[in-house]
């Protein structure tokens, strides 16, 4: 991580579009999105703790790994330097989140101290919500590969 006096990030000039806003081939992108939505819908229907449930997660992971290391897409350039003070706000929040989660496990009383997973799992109980969550997970994986 770079020094605390890292220069502030330059802003995009007015009128210039963000990299993610450039749509070169809108039809294929729409098709890909539709295919991912279909995949998410099917994946959301798998029974947890089964081989199929494992495969629907491993398959996109494998595809992304092949893309990331075999045919990497045009990547969004990472910043050359990172402001330590600015990043520390993120670090504090993330560490606090892990600590809050760990305290739930430590007390071993899941009703009184539910973990984040215990709170999220019931939300993923309905098929459309789970499908949407899987779609967001897939898109975030693609966003990570482009970084």
């Amino acid at each position: 991580m770079a020094a605390d006096n890292a220069p502030r990030r330059p802003r995009r000039p007015a009128g210039k579009r963000a990299p993610w806003a450039r749509v070169r081939h809108p039809v294929p992108k729409a098709l890909i999105l539709a295919a991912l939505a279909c995949y998410s819908w099917i994946a959301a229907g798998t029974e947890p703790f089964t081989r199929n449930a494992l495969l629907v997660v491993l398959a996109p992971g494998l595809v992304l790994a092949v893309i990331a290391y075999g045919r990497p897409p045009e990547r969004i350039p990472p910043p050359e330097r990172m402001d330590v003070a600015g990043f520390s706000y993120w670090a504090i929040c993330i560490v606090a989140l892990f600590e809050w989660e760990a305290s739930a496990f430590r007390d071993n009383a899941l009703w009184w101290h539910p973990s984040l997973t215990d709170l999220i799992d019931p939300m993923l109980g309905t098929h459309p919500v789970k499908a949407m969550a899987i779609l967001i997970w897939l898109l975030s994986g693609w966003a990570l590969v482009r970084r």
């Binding site: 991580m1 890292a6 502030r8 990030r9 802003r11 994946a43 959301a44 947890p48 703790f49 449930a53 494992l54 629907v56 997660v57 491993l58 996109p60 992971g61 992304l64 790994a65 990331a68 969004i76 350039p77 990472p78 910043p79 990172m82 402001d83 003070a85 600015g86 990043f87 706000y89 993120w90 929040c93 993330i94 606090a96 989140l97 809050w100 739930a104 009703w111 009184w112 101290h113 539910p114 984040l116 997973t117 709170l119 999220i120 799992d121 993923l124 789970k130 969550a133 899987i134 997970w137 975030s140 994986g141 966003a143 990570l144 590969v145 970084r147």
Partner: protein
């Protein structure tokens, strides 16, 4: 107040704080990086890239396979 409610409020506050940081990171002339920026920075070395992608895969396994 029940301990359960305090725990849930704690999670809500921390997750809300992450969204606030993302918002602040997108303001002009800020020193706070956005999530994408610091993840991109962490993913510059190959090991960082591998760890972040493994974390993404773990999230999928944890929430959708189990």
């Amino acid at each position: 107040m029940a301990t359960r409610v305090i725990t849930i409020i704690g999670f809500a506050v921390l997750i809300l704080a992450l969204f606030v940081l993302e918002y602040l990171g997108r303001r002009p002339d800020t020193r706070i990086p956005t999530l994408g920026e610091w993840l991109g920075y962490v993913m510059r070395p190959r090991a960082g890239r591998l760890l972040v992608l493994l974390g993404w895969l773990w999230l999928g396994w944890h929430y959708f396979s189990r």
